[in-house]
Structures are given as C-alpha cells and as structure tokens.
C-alpha cells in the first residue's frame, strides 16, 4: 500500500512540475465533461417530468384529418365512439392558438367545461362564465396582469374583447401552463367562431389500459379520416425528444466528444522528449516497467478524476441551481414565452457511470499506452533520444 502511495506522490510531483500544462488540460477536460453532463441532466429531468406527469394525460385523443392536415372533428363522432365496448366518457375538446402581435408571442387557448373550479396549482379559480379566464404565469407576465385584471384579446371576428382574469397558474406549473389561457368552452367557441357540433379533438376515456390500442383500431376503422393518438404515443414522443439520439443533443454531444478525442489523441501520440527521458532515467535507476506504468496510470487518474468530479459538480450547479443558463439560449429558439427551468433533480446514476466510462477510461488508457511503448525500450537509447 505504502509503495502505491509513494508512486502516487511521485506522480503528483511530476504533474506539479508541468503544472500550467496540466491545469490547462484539467480545465478543458472539466469543461467538456460539464457540457456533456449538463445536457444529460437537463434532458433526463425533462424526460422524467414528462413521464411522471403525462401518466394522467388522456388515454386517447381523436383528431380528424382532412387533406392530410388536422381539421375540426364533428362531435357526432363522439356518440359513435361512446358506444364502443370498453369506452367510458368521450369529451370534445376546443382549443387553439392565438398570436399576440403586441408581445409577438403565441398563446395556447383552451376551453374547459364548467364544474371543477379549484386546482392546487391554480391561484383563484377556473372560469365558470363567459367573460372570464385563467392564465399561465408567462401570459400574466407578458400582459402585466394579475387576478382581477382584464385581459384584452382580438377574437375571430377581429373584435377586441376584455376578459376578467379569475385564476393564475402557479409558478410550479410553468412547464405545463406557461402560455395557457383557459376559457369556458362556450366562450372559446365564440372567440374562435367554432360552430356548435364541431370540436378541435375528442378525449376518450378507456376503462382498461390494455384495450387502448384495440379501441384506437376500432375508431380508425369506424372513421377512416380520424387519427387516434394514444397516451403511450404521447409518452413515447417525449422519450424520443429528450433522447441521447435526438438531433440537437447528439450534435452538441458529438462536438464535445470529438473535442475530448482530440485531447486524448494528442496525449496518446504526443509524449514529449522530456517525459521519455524521465521514463528512461526511472528505468535506469531500477524501476520496473510495471512501476512506470503505475506511475503513468496515477498521473492519468489524477487528471481525469479531478476533471470528472469538477465537471460533474459544475454541471449540477449549472442545471439545477442556475436554471441551465448556458443551454437556455440554444433550447429557447424563437419562443417568446419560454418557461424558466426550475427542474426537479432527477439524476440517473447509470448515465453518470456511462459518462465516466466514456471519458475517464479512454484518457487513462491514452496516458498509459505511449508510456508503455517507451518503458519497454532500452533505457540508454531512450535517454539518448
């Protein structure tokens, strides 16, 4: 044990002799790891959030397609769907988008049936009458309005309408409700000029989870112009969006990995004359090849472990404490209303282990192999260069 510690001590003093070069390597290495880890932490947190919450998403959403595009669906479809075995309730949903030309932002407008008025994540109450609405925190900020204030919107007839804000969705729900404006169904029909008997889509409740696909097939057979979307498909969408293989993440990931490979390759091929001479001297004074390899192993380990732990720490603070500041401009795109990330730290240890394996292991190998080549050469010829 003492022997290993002494070799480690020698490795550290060897690193200290070239401290500026090694500090530069640690800085680049830690930056690469923190970039990779930030992306992993962020996407994992969003993916788990979606997976945990969307369990309560509608079991089946039925859209109607016309000319290959989403179109309004007759509510009479709902009557036929309700008659299918295993189907519970069928609710028509009326919703749409609204472009606010003053703020240059898009809102999602949604109609709810009068009934439930209170929600844990809602301050105030849901709209019960025409002329009332509940808004998300992003909309409230954009409109500089709160509960009791009026919200001015232009309807489908190009008429300005004022709605009293009766509810405000709490900040905790921003990832879900940031751009929402909720009206009563009656009011949203009037606002978008959607005639009675038509809806944006239908929400179908199915008693047995295992029958969802069967019911979806039956609906498709019954109404060939319909497009049933199951809850599993919704969950799968978010699984795919925040997957390792998704476009943006893969690009950043690949760039960071390429940068790391260049660093490791430089290390593997660029063992300096000074280092070669040092190995030659060590061999000449009686060190075994195994001792030299252990020395180089400890040097590589000291640099990679320090960089890995620093990189991971920086990534955690960046994503979960600073709201992924550096990644938001990339993710935000053209969204004017973009919720600030207050993410729950769902961290997957498996991903940390994979990251460690992908970075620490190759770096140590890249440090040891060229030294091994030098260490098995005759010390005299190594020292002579």
């Amino acid at each position: 044990m003492i022997r290993h510690l002494k070799i480690l001590e020698y490795a550290l003093s060897s690193l200290c002799r070239r401290k500026f070069k090694n500090l530069a390597i640690i800085a680049v290495y830690a930056f690469t790891i923190s970039t990779l880890a930030s992306i992993l932490f962020l996407t994992q947190a969003l993916k788990i959030e979606a997976a945990k919450v969307l369990i309560e998403a509608p079991a089946l959403v039925v859209q109607r397609l016309a000319g290959g595009r989403h179109d309004l669906v007759p509510t009479t479809y709902g009557d036929a769907i309700r008659a299918l075995p295993g189907v519970g309730s069928v609710k028509p949903r009326v919703w749409g988008y609204y472009y606010d030309s003053i703020n240059k932002s898009n809102y999602t407008l949604l109609g709810v049936e009068a009934g439930q008025t209170e929600l844990e994540l809602l301050e105030g109450r849901l709209p019960q009458r025409p002329g009332e609405c509940a808004v998300g925190a992003g909309v409230a900020e954009a409109q500089v309005a709160g509960i009791g204030d009026d919200l001015l919107l232009i309807d489908a007839d190009n008429m300005g309408r004022a709605y009293e804000i009766t509810g405000l969705f709490r900040a905790d729900s921003r990832l879900w409700s940031n751009d929402l404006i909720v009206f009563s169904t009656e009011e949203i029909r009037r606002f978008f000029a959607i005639p009675a008997g038509l809806a944006t889509d239908l929400i179908v409740e199915i008693y047995n989870e295992r029958e969802v696909v069967t019911v979806a097939k039956k609906i498709k057979r019954l109404f060939p112009d319909s497009r049933p979307i199951t809850r599993n498909e919704i969950l799968h969408t978010y699984e795919t969006v925040f997957n390792w293989r998704s476009g943006m993440i893969l690009t950043v990931f690949a760039a960071a990995l390429a940068a790391f490979c260049i660093l490791a390759w430089d290390k593997a091929t660029g063992i300096s004359g000074e280092e070669k001479q040092e190995i030659g001297i060590l061999k000449a004074i009686g060190w075994d090849t195994a001792d030299v390899l252990e020395l180089k192993f400890w040097e590589g380990m000291a640099i990679s472990l320090t960089s890995f732990v620093v990189g991971l720490l920086v990534a955690y603070i960046h994503v979960f404490m600073l709201g992924a500041l550096a990644l938001v401009p990339v993710l935000k795109g053209w969204s004017v209303l973009f919720p600030p990330f207050a993410l729950t730290p769902y961290v997957d240890l498996y991903q940390i282990v994979v990251l460690a394996f992908l970075t620490v292991f190759p770096y140590v190998v890249c440090t040891v192999i060229p030294s091994w080549k030098t260490a098995i050469t005759d010390p005299e010829s190594v020292m002579r260069g």
């Binding site: 969307l54 809602l122 940031n178 751009d179 943006m248 729950t344």
Partner: protein, 111 residues
C-alpha cells in the same frame, strides 16, 4: 507524502460536495414526487393537457405529440424546419422501413 494527502483531501471534498448535492437532489425529487407531481397530474387531467409548454414558436413545437405526421413541412411542402426546436426532435431513420409488394396471381394474369 504531503501531496498525496492534499490531493486525496481535495478529491474527497469535491466528491462529498457532489454526494451532498446528489442526495439532496434525490430527497427533493422524492418530496416533489409525493406532493408536486400529484398536483401537476391533477392539472394535466383536469385540463386534458398532452404536452409540455416549452416551445411556443409554432404549433408543431408547442404540441409535438399532436402535430401532423410530417411536421417538418407544416408551413408549405418542402419548407425547411426553421425553428431550432425542430432540431431537438430526432428525425425518423431515412429510407423505407416497410415495403409491400402486390402482384397479380398467375391465373388472373393470363386473363
């Protein structure tokens, strides 16, 4: 062996900080699971929500799960997917995944 002590001490300090953050984060996520997730589920169930309110710039990025099947061409056929959000979403593998061949039977072909 002063350097070994300093190095191990430094590494232990960093790892402890990381450990504390991870354990604290795990506790927080459990707490959120107990209280926060139930409230969010209630919200999603009551309003019938299907998507995260992340990218509001276009309808196919606001509701990726409800968008048309060929979302890259929402605005006009052949248009580029001009919002950065589109690049987050992985495209389908290129090429045909399934090929269906239909042939006339020999008997019918002669007729």
């Amino acid at each position: 062996m002063i350097r070994v002590r300093i190095f191990i001490g430094f590494l232990v300090l960093l790892m402890s900080a990381q450990f504390v953050l991870l354990v604290g984060g795990h506790q927080e996520s459990l707490q959120v699971d107990r209280a926060g997730v139930a409230a969010k589920r209630e919200l999603v169930k009551t309003l019938g929500l299907t998507d995260l309110a992340l990218w509001t710039e276009a309808r196919y990025s606001r509701h990726p799960s409800q968008a048309d099947l060929f979302t890259s061409f929402q605005d006009y056929p052949g248009s580029f997917d001009h919002f950065p959000a589109g690049s987050i979403i992985a495209p389908n593998p290129t090429g045909l995944s399934t090929t269906l061949r239909v042939r006339k039977s020999a008997g019918r072909g002669r007729k």
